[in-house]
Symmetry: C2
Subunit: 336 residues, 2 copies
């Protein structure tokens, strides 16, 4: 039910997803009458792989997370996450209210032992491929210990999704030197350096897009601002380019001539291809689609969830965190 | 002497600046032999408006600020800032080590009464024109009171440079709702709302480039990461566009056809036109040029300094801060 458009985006994307993956089946959660209407006329073979699960409530896009959690116990996102909890679904995907989705997921699914707080992770485009960045806004004021946990989670996500063994992890800072940043950041760097992660050291904002490391770890406030700044800049650049191309009949002609190139370029920087943020650290897979995306974007979010299921991201994170906790206990025992 | 290139950029930019402004004169500070060599053969009328001031040391681009402050008392940046302190120069411009320049400027010039710490401010491009953003890295862990001071300084800078009266001020946060962000951010919002500034409320990262407000206030850690992320993304987009245009003889032909448009576009997003970050809150004008810029970029930094002198930014900031302090005392007296 979520997102700026709702079923007109999520249902067609779901149908296409089922066509692409013959082993997949979907539970569509929301207003059953509206869902059934949207599903009329589809191929019966596909319809068999769709179950409609009614939910009587919808969380508004600007509703306060705590209020949604308290008052909307039969919301589409709550019911969907309950299905993950009960094991009826292997992942939940939503284009709805991010804060409410996170609060609900955390409340229902709980965190993996050893993880204090979940984080939002996303694969960002880079000149070398992609960079996994987390946290993007689930937390503000993350502790050094939490930043280490984000490093472990991001590292496992990249290992699982991209079959990269021992990915490099960078800590987002305002300079590459060790003396830079807040006390909390300096302590996080020590913890990361002492861990079994492939810690690269400090990285800066531009390193995300340069692809300096595979994983960039940061506090959610900082990550959210960096993500949205970059989105804003990309939007501005696109607007300027469009304006220049449309300035006169002559520039329009130029644009026409350059169309194949521009189309290829546009495809390459298409944000829909990077849609799907992972809520990591929970005992279940939850993927958040951008609210403003379209059918193609939502499909990428579904693909993201499928990949996380297939590669058992949660199992890998749980194992790694348990291992890290054991190491910590051992070194504490040795110290005593 | 500063920047990645040094005199080959700064001296030609200085000469051009003098040609553009017949009322200006410059003191070039650094190795006098090298400077004299660079100045040979220039128009004697221009040469008369240049004084070469020898400085025996140079701060390295990666030198620790505190070490530079302690060990390099005859560095070019220190001597230049001393000239501002003594009133011999009305502003100092440097393409050198940012941290060392800030530490030196703060040590020599001191802050304006009522300002705890200086901030780095920059005019960023936006779809509507420009947005002044500060702090961009002079401080980490800014207090709510400091964020209010940044708001006052940014507001006065925009008023002075762009003749915009009562500019709008936004507080960078991870959501527009009042409940979002850290405790420190919430308290800063209260202070800004209670001040005489034209406070808009919370803004998000994308609002910088959307031009939602005239001034965006943030902690230096967050501002620095946001700035560098955006720089990294712009670099990536440019690299992708170049690659697509150069892919084959056919795309090169397209590029050739679209060249006038692309050139216009490139000019519009040219970072050199936004070069020149202002160190605000000091009792003297200091402008930092990007170390990697060229002659054109350095000229923009010189222009920025000239505009700040012409419009008396420091006088305006000092008056506004004094006024704010008076109001605070009055409301405290009324409260007792």
């Amino acid at each position: 039910m979520g997102g700026d458009v709702g079923l007109k985006v999520t249902v067609p994307a779901s149908i296409r997803f089922l066509k692409d993956h013959s082993d997949a089946s979907l539970v569509l959660v929301g207003d059953s009458a509206a869902l059934d209407a949207e599903l009329t006329g589809i191929d019966p073979a596909l319809r068999q792989r769709i179950r409609v699960q009614h939910a009587s409530q919808v969380v508004d896009m600007d509703e306060a997370p705590q209020l949604a959690l308290k008052n909307k116990k039969d919301s589409s996102m709550r019911v969907a996450i309950n299905l993950v909890k009960s094991g009826e679904a292997q992942a939940a995907v939503s284009a709805g209210n991010t804060g409410a989705l996170m609060a609900t997921a955390r409340f229902v699914l709980k965190t993996i032992p050893g993880i204090d707080r979940p984080a939002i992770a996303k694969l960002m485009p880079s000149v070398k491929g992609t960079t996994c960045m987390l946290d993007l806004g689930a937390n503000v004021d993350s502790s050094p210990e939490q930043l280490l946990q984000f490093g472990i989670m991001g590292s496992e996500l990249v290992s699982c999704l991209q079959q990269r063994s021992n990915p490099t992890v960078g800590l987002l800072n305002i300079g590459s030197e060790d003396i830079k940043g807040t006390e909390s950041i300096k302590r996080a760097a020590e913890l990361l350096r002492g861990s079994e992660l492939n810690f690269y050291g400090n990285v800066e904002g531009n390193d995300v897009y340069k692809g300096t490391v595979d994983v960039v770890v940061c506090d959610g406030f900082v990550g959210n601002v960096a993500l949205k700044s970059a989105e804003g800049l990309a939007y501005m650049i696109a607007a300027f380019l469009r304006e220049e191309l449309m300035r006169s009949w002559w520039t329009r002609l130029c644009a026409l001539a350059a169309m194949p190139v521009l189309r290829h370029f546009k495809n390459r920087v298409d944000t829909r291809r990077y849609n799907g943020a992972s809520f990591l650290g929970l005992r279940g897979i939850v993927v958040k689609s951008h609210g403003g995306t379209d059918e193609l974007g939502f499909r990428y979010a579904l693909e993201q969830a499928r990949e996380e299921v297939r590669s058992n991201v949660i199992g890998h994170i749980a194992d790694r965190v348990a291992h890290q906790l054991q190491n910590l206990k051992r070194s504490e025992a040795e110290a005593n």
